[in-house]
Symmetry: C2
Subunit: 212 residues, 2 copies
DNA sequence: GCAAAAATGGGTTGTCCAGTCCAGAAAGAG
DNA sequence: CTCTTTCTGGACTGGACAACCCATTTTTGC
């Protein structure tokens, strides 16, 4: 058995790849806005400007499409966040990260929650394959955060386990996004992230000054 | 027309009230295990040991049943947690709370997530009424946590805004439960709660000793 | 150019499920 | 005892939706 088999085994022409991409993007939007179950393939079809059997030409089932959407959303989040992630090796960078996340949620009027976390919650208990896909998306996200924290730690500026801290930051962020989505206030997100940054600040000492 | 009409306007006999309760409990379990949309009324009917039109005798629609389930789950969580909440006015009590939550998730093999948060996530974007019900459930939970924190603050043992801290604790908990559910590891929950408790500890000073 | 492979359009099907209806049994009021 | 209200059982319906099929058009490899 060929273990290198693609999820979509057929060859794609340039046009085909574009159509497939359009379907994934449309599905991602709809699943984000309405949830996986409320986003019907008919909706996806229409939103992608594609007709009838197209979805099944590119995906074996709604499940396959969902897995592609999870990948897509992970890529989108990591790409959008990457400039902020790059600066997570300083308290100033962490504050910029916090501010950007809060500001972004405010602009969205606290709607939607986390594109990955929402999928994860919906999928966790009845779709093991999708749950794993979300979990591995979170691993990538966690790694991106960890890079900065670890660098700060390696420079001797930060006490405590950097791996734990990175996971705690991501976890707190998820809680903040969920509570913000449900309460339609930015306050829970602000407050958890402030709490976490306050903790980080208390564990920072300037390596050059070796002060305090 | 009587504007004081109940959500369930008809009078209930003792037997009727029991049956209604059985339906809510069964629906709560199923919605928790499978999600609101996957829990069909046929499943609820069977699980409650009730037949055919019973569900519609006690609830106008699945939506009404969902609202009753949200209330039910909030009550259940607050009741189950109340002994722990009662001790949240000391660091020892906070640690006991943390340990109990972690241990509970471990026993569940990290399945299910938060009974309230999961509903909230599923419902937030396409069911405003249910979203509000979940939000008000969270308000009650937040208040329960706040009581202890505020007491500690009033005794002069804790620095910082106690309201903010209570909300941060609940928010971090929600993130921990979500990440734990998705990754099927207890670690995210342990680590956010430890981070939060570490922050609290750094803001505590013993009022009697006035030390440090 | 010309076969083969890929892409597209749209119709169809079978199932699942929320919500309805009605008839009969049990419980309560007087 | 009897009339009214509530409770229970089970059959039914109408719509929605995932998945399937095939015929036609476009693209690609040679």
């Amino acid at each position: 058995m060929d273990m290198t088999a693609e999820v979509t085994p057929r060859r794609l022409t340039r046009k085909g790849a574009q159509t497939r991409q359009r379907i994934v993007a449309a599905a991602a939007s709809l699943m984000y806005e309405r949830g996986v179950l409320e986003a019907t393939l008919e909706d996806v079809r229409a939103a992608a400007g594609v007709s009838g059997s197209q979805v099944y030409h590119y995906f074996d089932s709604k499940q396959e499409l969902l897995l592609a959407v999870i990948e897509h959303q992970t890529d989108a989040v990591l790409e959008q966040q990457s400039p902020l992630h790059a600066r997570l090796d300083s308290l100033a960078g962490l504050r910029a990260w916090r501010d950007a996340l809060v500001e972004y949620q405010r602009r969205l009027q606290c709607r939607g929650g986390c594109p990955i976390g929402s999928l994860g919650s919906e999928v966790a208990e009845n779709n093991p394959e999708a749950r794993l896909a979300v979990a591995s998306g979170f691993l990538r996200w966690e790694a991106a955060i960890r890079d900065g924290i670890t660098a700060m730690h390696a420079r001797g500026e930060l006490e405590g386990d950097p791996d734990d801290l990175a996971l705690a930051l991501l976890t707190a962020l998820q809680g903040g996004l969920l509570m913000t989505q449900i309460t339609r206030t930015v306050r829970p997100l602000e407050i958890v992230l402030d709490a976490m940054l306050s903790l980080v600040a208390s564990r920072i000492h300037d390596a050059r000054a070796t002060a305090e």
